[in-house]
Symmetry: C2
Subunit: 127 residues, 2 copies
DNA sequence: AGTCTTGTACGAATTGTTTCGTAAACAAAC
DNA sequence: GTTTGTTTACGAAACAATTCGTACAAGACT
């Protein structure tokens, strides 16, 4: 499998497409604008490059092209985390997890959810 | 406080310095070499740039300079995670946590450690 | 002193990322 | 059918990150 490495800007776009599903450049751009200051053609160009790289697929049947992510959210997130764990967390996933929890004040419900998830994992390990 | 944003290569170097403490360029380079293919002067240049940016301090008393990280591990990790949560995890820290746990097959001990950490946090919340 | 080794400094080439101006295609509105 | 608006395409500029060649300094070793 290819090791595609989205840049920061590309990640923002991927994240939007993962949320919204297939979208036009304008739709993506309108979301992007809220958090970022860039022109329409900049977004367009980025998405064209992402298409060349294989990060996005597009349907060009109509004049207005429809783009969608061609990499899965799970897998991409996994790759990024793996790299981050290696480069900044000295290979320790649990260090990353605790740092994320500590800084971030999750709600009680979120914490509970994570705890259940942990128990499920421990259960699997014992079999 | 300034928002310093180490690049990927810079993070690798920071991570080494966080582990080893103050070190010479050669010491850092020798660790770096194991995981990466780059010449000595490349590492040197990187560390000089990091010094200019304020990411590293150095002692130039002797001919061979000694560098150390001037940003804290905790805070830097926190910033990076925050950015990552925003751009790739749609603002959800718990999504990141579960993804990290799921992909990464932590040891039983690590899982236990995280669970204890969670309980401690829940305890604090109730007060 | 002369050679060797190890180090820093500097500058430049290379590569990757981001940004946007401008032009051309196309359709809808007048 | 000409104007107006929306879209894609292309190219180049601006910026940032990475890499390394080369020169020079300093101490260590004959």
């Amino acid at each position: 499998m290819k090791q595609l490495k989205p840049t920061e800007s590309e990640l923002e776009i991927l994240n939007i497409l993962w949320q919204k599903g297939p979208s036009t450049v304008r739709e993506v751009h309108e979301v992007l604008e809220k958090s970022k200051d860039a022109g329409y053609t900049t977004t367009l160009k980025l998405m064209q490059i992402m298409h060349e790289k294989g990060l996005l697929e597009r349907n060009t049947d109509s004049k207005t092209h429809i783009y969608k992510a061609s990499v899965s959210q799970k897998q991409t997130q996994g790759q990024i985390l793996q790299r981050l764990i290696d480069t900044a967390f000295n290979g320790s996933a649990s260090q990353l997890v605790m740092q994320a929890l500590g800084n971030h004040k999750a709600t009680k419900e979120e914490l509970e959810q994570i705890k259940q998830y942990l128990e499920k994992m421990e259960g699997k390990k014992d079999q």
